[in-house]
């Protein structure tokens, strides 16, 4: 056991929990709240791949998965992957060796790049079913 090496995962976990608590209180799903809109949206008026993420996490905290998917479906996938990476990293610190996770796979980064760029485009298209993706 390497209990002391769990300090770093603990700091990250506490920071994430604090951010979630602040998000819960601030409620970004109501317009005009204290949380800022994404700079890209504020300046250019378009959805970036991360737009809607705060509302997505807020919905997720309230176990409203349907709303979470609506606000940012790819962001939801990213959050799940990030939780996975965090769990693998924490476990690796505990057992004292490097634990491989999805981000170490050969095609993870190119896939993430392609998905992010595709998501950036489709949620800004103004025809067909795509406007439903604009938040």
């Amino acid at each position: 056991m390497h209990v002391r090496s769990l300090a770093a995962p603990l700091v990250v976990g506490v920071a994430a929990a604090g951010a979630c608590a602040a998000l819960w209180v601030a409620n970004p799903t109501v317009p005009g709240g204290i949380l800022p809109a994404c700079p890209t949206k504020a300046l250019l008026g378009i959805d970036c791949p991360g737009c809607g993420s705060l509302r997505m996490i807020y919905s997720l905290l309230h176990l409203d998965v349907a709303s979470a998917v609506h606000y940012n479906a790819l962001g939801l996938v990213a959050v799940l992957l990030l939780v996975w990476a965090f769990a693998a990293w924490s476990y690796g610190r505990l057992v004292g060796r490097r634990v491989s996770s999805w981000q170490h796979l050969r095609w993870s980064a190119p896939t993430a790049l392609a998905l992010t760029l595709a998501w950036f485009v489709v949620r800004n298209l103004g025809f067909g079913p795509f406007p439903a993706l604009y938040v």
Partner: protein, 108 residues
């Protein structure tokens, strides 16, 4: 108090390229790039993912210095993305407080 002398340096194992290159592929820092992109600082976060996606390809081709450089760039752009997000948040907070103060003065 005296300390025991440090153990002699291990000779590098046979077959490992000599020089400053690590024997393990550098981290692509993909997690940080995705984190930066999801938490909303678009152009910089995507740049980080672009560099992250180069790391393993360059490493597989034996271009070790370039792979390390791509790894470092991925980390650098993720950090700049976070810094830009914090700066934007601070500016937003200042404007919000100022606007709130003005509206309070004019409507009270």
């Amino acid at each position: 108090m005296t300390y025991p002398p440090p153990p002699p340096a291990q000779p590098p194992p046979y077959g490992v390229p000599q020089g400053s290159y690590p024997t393990q592929q550098p981290d692509s820092n993909l997690v940080w790039g995705i984190l930066a992109t999801v938490l909303c600082c678009l152009p910089l976060g995507i740049v980080s993912i672009v560099y992250a996606s180069k790391v393993s390809g360059l490493w597989a081709q034996g271009r070790y210095p370039e792979a390390q450089e791509a790894s470092a760039n991925a980390k650098k752009w993720a950090i700049w993305s976070a810094v830009a997000g914090v700066i934007f948040g601070i500016i937003y907070a200042i404007i919000a407080v100022a606007a709130g103060g003005f509206s309070y003065m004019s409507y009270s």
